[in-house]
């Protein structure tokens, strides 16, 4: 068959696409389980660190989660429950739109919803080095035991650039150069704070 004939072109394109896509599908299938375990682990680790439960290795995190955290379905939403240092802690997984993509994370609060216990992120695809910095310890540390004022948390733009660690003012600092992502996070947190208020106020108190 001539190399430039129409039939050859069609057959060649078909065969080569088939071969490459087949290998990709195979590779995807083979690693599926592993990826799933990784995702499950990310979620468990995020819930633990949002609640302020410390762990060192991945294995320990997996075990601690089974031991300490209980899942309860309230109005079709999974609420994670635990007791940390004698205080009841509740957490939910939140989902929302970041600047580029969906951000998933965990928000943990205390029983009477006066303080955020902590937050952590499960997955995000914000710009690495800018919006992606929401994963950094200092950013998340701003929310540790932060007081909730009027059921809300407020964002400050153009602060010191090092974070707001006054945990009584109900404020946090946006990331320099990533104001939109920080805004998105604030909106998500405030939305889920009101959802949590609804959930916990309704059945737990």
């Amino acid at each position: 068959m001539k190399k430039e004939s129409k039939l050859y072109v069609v057959i060649f394109t078909f065969v080569i696409s088939f071969v490459f896509v087949f290998i990709l599908a195979l590779a995807n299938e083979l690693t599926k389980e592993k990826v799933k375990i990784n995702e499950e682990l990310f979620q468990r680790k995020a819930i633990l660190s949002a609640m302020g439960i410390e762990f060192k290795t991945d294995k320990e995190a997996y075990k601690l989660f089974d031991e300490k955290v209980k899942v309860e379905k309230i109005k079709d939403i999974d609420v994670y429950k635990s007791n940390v240092n004698g205080e009841d802690v509740y957490a939910v997984v939140f989902v929302g739109n970041g600047l580029w993509s969906t951000i998933r994370g965990v928000l943990a609060v205390n029983k009477d919803l006066t303080r955020i216990i902590g937050i952590d992120f499960i997955s995000q695809s914000e710009t690495p080095g800018l919006g992606g910095r929401i994963e950094e310890a200092w950013f998340k540390g701003q929310f540790r035991f932060e007081r909730i004022k009027d059921g809300k948390i407020k964002m400050i733009i153009g602060g010191t650039g090092k974070g707001d660690f006054n945990h009584e003012n109900g404020e946090f600092e946006a990331i320099t150069g990533a104001t939109r992502t920080s805004e998105a996070v604030a909106a998500m947190l405030n939305k889920y704070l009101s959802i949590l208020k609804n959930l916990l106020g309704g059945e737990l108190r």
Binding site: K3, E4, F12, I16, F20, P128, G129, E135
Partner: protein, 200 residues
């Protein structure tokens, strides 16, 4: 062996894909505010370029001229997705940090340029080497840009603090436009050295 040496020198210096051919600028602007991300990204680009050049070179006798660009794109996309799958399964932390940039390697012009310009008319092993060294040329430039951006923007290198705590970080260095300035300065210096050598 001298042929391999020549390819190395061409790709890293005399015909560097970034500062001579001005290719792959898009990612040079985006990922270079952090050394760790830059390093993993450029290594991934080097491997993808090397393997897609190798593959294109091996099957070049079978590819009809009409569809060669499409086939090259297919091969490149194939390797990029393989890299993505491997990272997600075995290095989840890094996969998380790089986020969308792994997928965007497909659009890097250097890979297509090497496949079309070199692998299409050379043997497999030298094509692999050409692809890999082109990636190295890209790595060197991006690492230099990232070094200054992370140092001045965050006061850290590879995430470790090197400048004192009181250092006022330059916010502009974290934004994409600063990479334009850094790259321009880099090209200026590199070209200056090159021209001076030629004059001698």
């Amino acid at each position: 062996m001298s042929e391999y040496n020549k390819v190395l020198k061409e790709n890293v210096w005399y015909n560097n894909p970034v500062f001579v051919q001005i290719l792959g600028i898009c990612s040079a602007l985006a990922v270079t505010n952090n050394l760790t991300n830059t390093f993993i990204m450029t290594i991934a680009v080097s491997l993808v370029t090397a393997f897609s050049s190798l593959t294109v070179s091996i099957i070049k006798g079978l590819i009809p001229r009409k569809v060669r660009m499409i086939v090259q794109t297919l091969i490149i996309a194939f390797y990029v997705i393989i890299v993505d799958i491997i990272l997600r399964a075995y290095l989840p932390g890094i996969s998380k940090a790089l986020g969308p940039y792994v997928g965007l390697i497909i659009t890097n012009c250097i890979i297509m340029g090497r496949a079309e310009g070199f692998a299409q008319s050379n043997g497999p092993i030298i094509s692999f080497w050409d692809g890999f060294t082109s990636g190295l040329g890209y790595l060197v430039v991006l690492m230099v840009v990232a070094f200054f951006r992370e140092l001045l923007g965050f006061g850290t290198l590879f995430g470790y603090r090197v400048l004192p705590e009181g250092f006022m970080s330059w916010t502009i260095m974290l934004m994409a436009p600063s990479a334009f300035f850094m790259l321009a300065i880099f090209i200026w210096v590199a070209k200056g050295i090159m021209l001076r050598k030629e004059a001698k």
